[in-house]
């Protein structure tokens, strides 16, 4: 349990650093560390597959992509969008509403809940595969359409238009 509290503290700390730091590159690096702490959480929960995917895809691929985009965008102080106080206040109120809803919902969570503690091995790759290829076969197959759509779209947007003379 003490490991959990330590990692949870780190996760929240680095998440806050992501928001408060001024330099966008530092912000992304803090986000990488936040994702790493989340990976540790997954391992603590015995969810191997999620941990591996989170480590490789989110921390590795997506965050590197983030850094590249930031590098290409060439952000500096002048291009920072205007933030009015009104927007900040509204954002704070909306965020607090969200937190209130979540706290209201989470107050009953107990680690001994049978849904949570029922099957400790549920996150193992083997069990996940069994569920994925039996019960959730249809959504799994249909996701191929989703990926194909995204692929067609990405090529379509990136491809150069041939201007008719």
């Amino acid at each position: 349990m003490s490991i959990f509290y330590f990692v949870a503290f780190l996760a929240i700390f680095f998440a806050l650093m992501t928001i408060f730091t001024k330099n966008p590159v530092h912000s992304v690096l803090y986000l990488v560390i936040t994702f790493f702490t989340l990976t540790i959480h997954y391992i603590l929960l015995n969810a191997q597959f999620l941990a591996v995917v989170n480590f490789i895809v989110y921390m590795g691929a997506i965050m590197v992509l983030f850094l590249f985009v930031l590098m290409l965008l060439n952000l500096n102080e002048d291009t920072e969008p205007m933030k009015s106080n009104l927007v900040k206040i509204i954002g704070a109120i909306a965020g607090m509403c969200l937190i209130a809803t979540f706290l209201g919902a989470f107050r009953v969570i107990q680690p001994t809940n049978e849904l949570v503690a029922g099957n400790a091995d549920i996150g193992l790759v083997k069990n996940l595969g069994k569920v994925l290829f039996n019960e959730f076969l249809l959504p799994f197959e249909i996701s191929s359409i989703l990926l194909l759509t995204a692929m067609v779209g990405a090529v379509l947007l990136a491809k150069k238009e041939v201007r008719k003379a």
Partner: protein, 466 residues
């Protein structure tokens, strides 16, 4: 299921046709594919509906009727696309393919019985649209619309997923039937579940574009190419509503004391925001965007007073709204092609230049406003009737006020067409270039259907045994 498989194959086939440069064959193949899908949908009508594939999808009459509606509306919109895409770029096959995939997503949302399918369906529908909205790459408004739609869509998907997670945390299932069992049999419904309901409500409201989650709607509808706007405001909106209604009517009815006040507030805000903003617009396209917000408000009536009449009334309303929108956007494409603008002024004197186009557009506007003898009236009547049945007088009065306001801005177009003369640059054009045959067919079919359903609504109601 046959329809969904057909559409998946059709999309891939269209890509191959594009690869082999058979651009002429694209539209006929797409239409034939849609017809086959429609055939599969209708042929399943009399079979007993049971959840298939481990309870993932269910093709009951509710799903089938809305699937058929979505397919027909898509076919009408594709008919309009003949020359339209060619003016944008060379890659026509991909556009058809994306529209077909988006329709596949819509069909999945119509028929889901498990949150996994709902999520995959909504994502397929939206991802294809993010691209389609931005296909005018050199147009700044189109780029802005695509980015805005993408960010807002991703955000709302986050809400939806969080909602699904919390509901799973409380009940341990993604299945609608099991969720219903949980809600009816549990002694105390866990607060987690309530949180989940609220978050799902937010996510779905984003998707259907009702206030206060409507901020993306006007900009996106305005910036997207007109044809895509018409697809978004009909097929996608209808499918999102079907998903919305299915969740609430199958699983969440016993909790209605919890979500009805929330939804009621949303409906009232939506009606006023949509109609008041539509009143102030000078662009026809933007007016249609705001009017689609207010129509979403009316469609929510069916969920607020949920009951056995909800499905028929939302079906009739959606049919009327979709037909009228298709006419309105088709007319807008023709007018914009001639005058280059989508302001109300470009409709001035249209009745003299193109009497039949003006007549069809008038029918559409009357239908949207809910004037008797059009399908829109029947839809509004059934919605109001539902509300009246539950003695919700406040909502009824507010809705009636809003319906009256709506008449004003819909008739604005009609007044422009019939009683104002074209000025300035267009004054010289006494005749409009004749509408292509496909436009005539679509306008004719949609206008006739609007009138027929308005005079004889039993044609649709008999589907639901009403």
């Amino acid at each position: 299921m046959g329809a969904i498989i057909t559409l998946c194959i059709l999309g891939i086939l269209l890509l191959y046709l594009g690869l082999f440069k058979m651009n002429k064959a694209l539209l006929p193949v797409a239409l034939v594919g849609l017809l086959v899908a429609l055939g599969f949908t209708l042929s399943a009508w009399n079979t007993d509906a049971a959840p298939l594939y481990n309870g993932m999808v269910v093709f009951d009459r509710y799903a089938l009727s809305f699937s058929a509606l979505c397919i027909v509306v898509t076919a009408l919109i594709l008919l309009l696309s003949k020359e339209y895409f060619r003016n944008i770029s060379e890659h026509i096959a991909e556009y058809y393919c994306l529209i077909i995939f988006s329709l596949t997503g819509a069909l999945l949302v119509n028929a889901y019985h498990n949150f996994a399918m709902l999520f995959v369906g909504i994502e397929i529908m939206s991802v294809a649209l993010y691209i389609l909205v931005g296909i005018r790459k050199s147009d700044f408004a189109s780029n802005e619309a695509a980015l805005k739609y993408f960010l807002m869509g991703a955000f709302s998907t986050g809400f939806l997923l969080f909602g699904i997670t919390l509901m799973y945390g409380a009940s341990g299932t993604f299945d609608l039937g099991a969720l219903r069992n949980y809600v009816t049999s549990a002694e105390t419904v866990s607060p987690l579940f309530y949180g989940g309901v609220l978050l799902m409500l937010c996510g779905l409201c984003f998707k259907v574009g009702v206030a206060p989650f409507h901020f993306w709607t006007p900009d996106v509808y305005d910036g997207a190419p007109i044809l895509i706007t018409s697809f978004m405001s009909t097929v996608v909106k209808i499918a999102s509503f079907v998903g919305f209604l299915r969740l609430f009517s199958t699983a969440l009815v016993p909790l209605d004391a919890f979500w009805t006040p929330v939804l009621l507030t949303i409906v009232i805000i939506t009606l006023f925001v949509g109609n008041a903003s539509a009143l102030l617009q000078s662009s026809f396209k933007r007016m249609m965007a705001y009017s689609s917000i207010s129509h979403a408000g009316y469609m929510l009536f069916a969920i607020v007073v949920i009951g056995e009449n909800s499905v028929p009334s939302i079906f009739v309303y959606a049919t009327a709204y979709a037909l009228a929108s298709v006419i309105a956007f088709a007319a807008l494409i023709l007018v914009k092609r001639m005058s280059g603008s989508d302001q109300f002024e470009s409709f001035n004197g249209l009745a003299k230049r193109a009497p039949w186009l003006a007549f069809a557009l008038t029918i559409a506007m009357l239908s949207l406003a809910g004037i008797p003898l059009t399908a829109g009236f029947i839809g509004k009547f059934m919605m109001f009737n539902n509300v009246m049945g539950s003695y919700n007088v406040t909502l009824l009065v507010l809705a009636a006020i809003n319906a009256a306001v709506a008449v004003y801005y819909y008739l604005h177009v009609v007044v422009c067409m019939y009683f104002k003369n074209a000025e300035g640059a267009h004054a010289g054009h006494t005749t409009m270039m004749p509408a292509p045959i496909n436009y005539k067919v679509v306008l004719g079919v949609a206008a006739v259907l609007t009138i027929v359903l308005g005079v004889y609504p039993d044609l649709l109601l008999v589907l639901f045994g009403g």
